[in-house]
């Protein structure tokens, strides 16, 4: 397991203690946790801990191992207001809108926390800082839950992650036979732990679930695959539906537009977008930089495994966290692991 413990302390808590703790958190702050919404598991605010959808392998579990959308949506929502616009005659008044609430997210999977860390590289660490993302990030504490078992499409360990990777959490919980082992990873996390109430332990978490690992081409190897005929073949399946980008923990493309909200009142919003869309790159006059589906599919893979790390100074890092969601949602069977395996094969 990956230990990134901030104070060297570990606690062992029961399910009841965990629930009591989450309950007290939800009294003072917004608690977001996996919740069933019309049959779909999503990270959503929970009014009471009874609403929490415990993952597979935990008491009262649902069959899902991951919410449909990643925690990305908490920091970078599908649609958010940037500011309000009031038009009175020739005069314009802008009213900036920023999120201010304090939030705790429970049940974050390591692949999702990795995704947040990867988005930090763009929205926080690459100038200029994104004001909206930064506020949400500063006001949010992540309580992680290590994966006891790998889901059918999980492959985090092939892209630098691990089912019990705690490094991107504020607090990490590991399920053991004796209860939950809890550790603070950051100072922000330590602040939330009721040290006086919990039992300290010297034990460590249970065994890491086994995952099959496969080789992913290093970032520097990607350019040589740019002109491969492979992309045209693979893209025959792609429907340009963009579902892969929306469920991805690190896809970050967005559009900005104005919407009417009342007489003389508008809001400027940004919303998720995806390079898979046909008109995504259309410029004035109608020219499209990537008219072919193969070019758009290729762009998404190149962004994940080559462009993004270069643009954000991450070096030889994958912007894929191995969550497997894009495989789960693709209606046409485009499988990111199949692509990685194909490209990794000796020519």
């Amino acid at each position: 397991m990956t230990i990134t413990n901030v104070d060297g302390k570990s606690w062992l808590i029961s399910q009841a203690e965990l629930e009591a703790w989450l309950d007290s958190i939800s009294n003072a702050r917004t608690l977001i946790a996996p919740r069933q919404v019309s049959g779909t598991m999503l990270y959503r605010p929970v009014a009471s801990i009874d609403e929490i959808a415990w993952y597979a392998g935990t008491p009262g579990s649902s069959p899902d191992n991951l919410p449909l959308l990643s925690v990305k949506e908490i920091f970078f929502p599908p649609t958010e207001r940037l500011f309000k616009i009031q038009k009175t005659g020739q005069e314009i008044h802008l009213e900036e809108a920023y999120p201010e609430w304090e939030t705790v997210v429970f049940g974050v999977r390591p692949c999702d926390a990795r995704g947040v860390k990867l988005l930090d590289a763009l929205f926080l660490d690459t100038n200029p800082v994104d004001s909206y993302y930064a506020r949400r990030r500063a006001n949010t504490t992540l309580i992680g839950l290590a994966c006891k078992e790998a889901g059918p499409t999980c492959f985090c360990s092939s892209v630098g992650g691990a089912p019990d990777d705690a490094r991107d959490m504020d607090i990490m919980l590991y399920e053991t036979d004796a209860g939950y082992l809890a550790e603070a990873v950051t100072e922000k996390g330590r602040f939330l732990i009721p040290a006086g109430e919990w039992r300290e332990t010297t034990s460590r978490s249970g065994p890491t679930p086994c995952m099959e690992q496969f080789p992913v081409p290093e970032n520097g190897k990607w350019p040589e695959h740019f002109n491969d005929a492979y992309w045209a073949r693979m893209s025959e399946r792609c429907l340009s539906c963009r579902a892969c980008a929306y469920v991805c923990p690190t896809c970050h493309c967005f559009a900005i537009r104005d919407e009417l909200i009342g007489p003389g009142e508008f809001e400027r919003i940004r919303c998720w977008d995806s390079c898979a869309g046909e008109n995504y790159r259309r410029v004035a006059g109608g020219h499209r930089a990537r008219p072919e589906k193969a070019e758009r599919l290729r762009n998404r893979f190149f962004c994940k495994f080559y462009y993004y790390a270069g643009q954000t100074g991450l070096g030889n890092t994958s912007a894929c966290t191995g969550c497997g969601r894009c495989i789960d949602v693709c209606p046409a069977g485009v499988d990111i692991t199949e692509v990685l395996l194909d490209l990794g094969k000796p020519a």
């Binding site: 763009l122 690459t126 004001s131 970050h252 967005f254 104005d258 400027r268 020219h287």
Partner: protein, 276 residues
Amino acid sequence: MNANPLVPYLGRLVEVCDLASEIKLFRVEMQNGGGAAFESFQPGQFAFVSAFGLGEAPFGIANATGRGPLVDFAVARLGSVTTGLHELGVGDQLGVRGPLGNSFPMDKFKGKDLVVLGGGIGGAPLRPVIQHVLDHRRDYGKLTILWAARQPSLLIFTDEYAEWQAASDTSLHLTVDKPEEGWEHSVGLITQLLEEVDPSRENAIAVTCGPPVMIRNVTKMLAGMGFAAGDSYVTLEARMHCGLGKCGRCNLGEKLVCVDGPVFNMAEVGNLLEAY
């Protein structure tokens, strides 16, 4: 830039004039913090202009600093934002976000001949280059302007041709694809004009902007004429939404047009994985 660079400065339209058919020039007086932000933008930089309620779009800034406090934008009416902008009049407020992107290395160009090739509305971001050279005439060598449009009614900055031609060591060459009655200049593509004018590539820099197909053909011809890739500059367009390297919409391979560009030389563009 604003503390939150996604929030535009307000500006007031102090002058609107027709540049060409469906193309208007907007002259904006920046308000609040915008005046300071736009005090010293560089030729080649761009900004987002908001038609509030309809959205914003990126435009190359169309004038050089040092000619007064106003910021110029040439806007062709093509989509909803540009249509909204065309409906604005003197006194109306709009939003301006920037200045953004890199710029033409005008210092590096000093002492060199400049060949400026503009096609259609693509000439707009080259006007600051022309103005800068004219305003610092002794710093630069011969200025050769090749200016093109589909038809005479689409040629921009026609009112300024006299000024350009009157400047020392400066020549202007015009061409259109489809001439109209009374047209006295060249007919044909800008590549034909380039062949005819045949500017010297000794100690010379070429600067090109226009539709992608024109940029491709012109830069190819320039290379064939002997312009080194590092001496052939372009400014590229992409329908970016943030201009800050975040929204991801303007990548050409590993480069982002908004923060790595919009100005590139062909040595840089030639190494990109993707063509523009």
